[in-house]
Amino acid sequence: MNERDRRAIIFRFVITLLVIVAINFLLPRMMPGDPFSTMASDIQGEDVIVMTEAQREYYFHYYGLDLPLHEQFFSYLANLARGDLGRSIHYRMPVNEVILLHLPWTLLIVLSATAISTVAGVILGVVSARNRSKGSDRLMMTGLIAFAEIPSFLLGIILLLIFCVHLQIFPLAGAVTPFAHYTGVLDQVRDIAYHAFLPVLTLSFAQLTGVYLLTRNTLITVSTKDYIRTAHAKGLGDRIVWTRHALRNALLPVVTRTGFVIGMLMGGAVLVESVFNYPGIGLLLRNAVVARDYPLIQGILLVVAISVLLCNLMADRIYLKLDPRVAG
């Protein structure tokens, strides 16, 4: 199983990457118009740029948009290899820098949400599995499954309306309070957490049910296996049987799934950040799309795609490592 599968996984990773790079490259060039003609800017809090004809021609040439297609592609690939993602038309900075300004916020909420949803999902899943078929289990299942069907960003809007608009507990936008004066690191951390709370909560809900169901169902399946009976027979006591034997097996798929969770959350961050006006790369992508800022769009897409693919790859590799049945 092993060598072939490992190679297949890496192969798929590479092909997908190539597809993304190709899409990345082709798309903007297939769109009607060019970045400089559409000036309708919906970006909140940003300036609108107006260009003269001469400036337009200059930037056209600067971005190589007047070269034949294949030459553009090769120069694009060459730049990629060098780590040069180009210059953002809108922000007038290298794309790398723009992304690096916004990426940490996304990572913050995505990783926090992953941690929270995994821990909460596992705990709820274990409780549910131990009380299988009793009232609490059925209630939890119906409730959480219903929750999962509501798209996360709609949930986000609801949370926004309740906590920000109606109750006014949380802020409406931003990652930090603008022009804030911090009395120390702790104060700064508090402020960040205060702003990040609702986005993290929304993202957590997005994946909570998935982790919960996986934990619960795997645990139930595992508890019917013969080795659990063997462990009981050895007189080891409930606690050891559950932790060392049942959970260790049941958590395998959950742990490997965590990699995929990160990937999915990175994809879903766009909407949630838009709802809460949280300045991560999701919001950045939206703004870039509205402004038709090609290089920025391509850069963000590449970064997001690579992160997601890396997470998936990691998840696959971790699974291969953790389960002795396939590692051998």
């Binding site: 080795y227 009981h232 027979a233 050895k234 007189g235 080891l236 006591g237 049945r325």
Partner: protein, 587 residues
């Protein structure tokens, strides 16, 4: 004091469709150092029994009765207290299924685990003991770091055994430990178990459906059927002379106990129950059941020699009993031929007794006497406790029927097949014409003859010898006998025809369950179908016993002479100068 004493154990599974009784009143005891075997097929409750002793049944099962270990009743102990007994006192070796060991822990760690929990030793000591255990069961300690999926089935079974022995239990339960193993590994495990038992004196409960394995280990056996004990006693006694019809059927179905006999299954399907049936669980498949068998379940009763059986009829009942039969022919020259000279015969329900002897040993005369055709000079023949002669058992259903040797005189040339088969019904006025036709057809079907009108209308004179003999057989079958006497029935037929007729005959006998006395001069032939053999010589029965016993370990000289009279090429060497078939094995 006995190590284990199970009293009136009952176990119920509560499913969505109602309660299912897996064990319905089992009681047995085990002394220290004793090995007891529990035999049963699927659904007999044997695994449930093994699990209940260890209290490993899940929440949906409830048990009642007592399970007494060294005097303590563990049947309803709370879990924490039960854990003190588990593994240290009572350990179980499971069948090695795919998931019986935790796939993400090394096997070494899984064996060490109970050691660390139950005994106060350091990890290093535990590892050393684990290595010892591995060596004891024949595994290289190098495998301690392997994962379960890296071991073969036989190796995993040994790991399970090592794991069970780790805390030196007093009582060992083995649940189907040889099911997934090949014959060689099975033998190794068995030898291992016997060696360990001799050295450490474990009490063992060996649960299995594999009669060969259990009988090679256990000194006593209990046989389970549908959650009840149907028979118990010393192993050798049970195998040589089973008292319960189910046990007999099991032994018949096990090919490597009596290896010269053909394999015959038990007719009928699953155990009865569930539809308000309150009788003996084996009742619907039993060939000797009476009315009470359908209305109340029998209790396990002692029947002598430290044996018990659960049967309303006391086990396999005696059907025919002949005591001290004498019969003399007076010859023209005034000489008297003592054809039957003080013969005792006993035939039990569902049994095939072969009476073997040379020509003029008196076999046929005896057959006629047993059938009630000839009147013995002295002695009694009782069939179901009534004197046979004059009771007209041949006139009715459920009686005694006899089939003779010469096919051409067994049936009349001028009778059609239908007439011949229907004759006994016609003579005794049984049933309407249509019913007789149906019964005749049914009988013909049983002997594998055609039932189409064309064949029914054919004259017996136009049939071959084999066909006529089958017609004679059908005629006997139409009266649904409880005892069939086959007097040299196949001796006059061609070899291949004889083989076919014999197989048909034995097939009907197994299905219908009637007893059969098979008279023959051919010892090898009878070995294929007989349960017991009686050797007759000059009017006397010189040796009786289990067919294989008589054949392989003859005691009487005349029996030995009969056996040595075999002259054919044979697959194995008799040491008597008869050439063996070469090329039967690799040189």
């Amino acid at each position: 004091m006995s190590v284990l004493e199970v009293s009136n154990l009952e176990c119920c599974y509560h499913t969505d469709n109602g309660a299912v009784k897996a064990i319905d009143g089992i009681s047995f005891g085990l002394e220290a150092g004793e090995i007891i075997g529990v035999i049963g097929e699927s659904g007999s409750g044997k695994t449930t029994l093994a699990l209940s002793i260890m209290r490993l049944l899940d929440g949906r099962a409830s048990i009642s009765g007592t399970i007494s270990y060294n005097g303590t009743n563990i049947a309803h102990l709370p879990e924490p207290e039960m854990n003190r007994f588990r593994w240290k006192d009572i350990a179980i070796v499971f069948q090695n299924s795919l998931d019986v060991l935790n796939p993400v822990m090394t096997v070494g760690n899984q064996v060490i685990e109970p050691l660390l929990k139950h005994e106060n030793i350091s990890v290093r000591e535990a590892e050393a003991r684990c290595a010892d255990l591995f060596r004891t069961v024949g595994l290289d300690p190098i495998w301690m770091d392997a994962y379960p999926h890296q071991l073969s089935g036989g190796m995993r079974q040994r790991v399970l055994l090592a794991m069970a022995l780790s805390c030196n239990p007093k009582l060992l339960i083995l649940d189907e430990v040889t099911s997934a193993l090949d014959a060689y590994t099975r033998k190794e495990i068995r030898d291992l178990l016997i060696g360990l038992q001799k050295k450490n004196g474990y009490g063992m409960v060996v649960v299995s459906h594999d009669l060969s394995f259990v009988s090679s280990l256990a000194s006593r056996m209990i046989v389970l059927y549908a959650g009840r004990v149907v028979e118990s006693g010393p192993t050798t006694d049970i195998i040589n002379a089973p008292r319960h019809p189910y046990t007999r059927g099991l032994i018949h179905s096990t090919p490597d106990i009596f290896i010269y006999r053909d394999l015959w299954g038990i007719p009928g399907g699953e155990a009865s129950g569930g539809d308000g049936y309150a009788g003996c669980p084996f009742g619907r498949r039993c060939t000797q059941s009476i009315d009470i068998c359908r209305t109340s379940p029998p209790l396990l009763q002692p029947c002598g020699d430290d044996r018990e059986v659960a049967c309303h009829r006391g086990g396999i009942a005696t059907l025919l009993r002949a005591d001290d039969i004498h019969f003399r022919y007076t010859l023209p020259a005034g000489r008297v031929l003592h054809a039957v000279d003080g013969v005792d015969v006993e035939v039990r329900e569902g049994e095939v007794l072969a009476i073997v002897g040379q020509t003029a040993s008196g076999k046929s005369t005896l057959a006629h006497i047993l059938a009630g055709i000839l009147r013995p000079e002295s002695g009694t023949v009782r069939f179901m406790d009534r004197e046979v002669y004059g009771a007209n058992y041949g006139h009715r259903f459920g009686g005694i029927q006899i089939v003779f040797q010469d096919p051409f005189s067994s049936t009349s040339n001028r009778f059609t097949v239908l007439d011949a088969v229907r004759e006994p019904l016609d003579i005794n006025g049984i049933g309407t014409a249509a019913e007789r036709l149906d019964m005749a057809r049914e009988a013909l079907r049983q002997v594998r003859l055609p039932t189409i009108d064309e064949f029914l209308g054919r004259y017996c004179g136009a049939l071959s010898g084999g066909q006529r003999q089958r017609v004679a057989l059908a005629r006997a079958m139409v009266m649904k006998p409880k005892l069939l006497i086959a007097d040299e029935t196949t001796s006059a037929l061609d070899v291949s025809t004889a083989a076919n007729v014999l197989r048909t005959l034995k097939g009907i006998q197994n299905r219908k369950g009637f007893a059969m006395i098979y008279i023959s001069h051919d010892l090898s032939l009878t070995l294929k179908i007989a349960d017991r053999i009686a050797v007759m010589d000059a009017g006397r029965i010189v040796e009786t016993g289990n067919a294989h016993e008589v054949m392989l370990h003859p005691r009487d000289d005349r029996t030995k002479r009969l056996i040595d009279a075999r002259i054919s090429h044979c697959c194995h060497d008799h040491g008597d100068g008869v050439p063996t078939l070469t090329g039967m094995g690799e040189p």
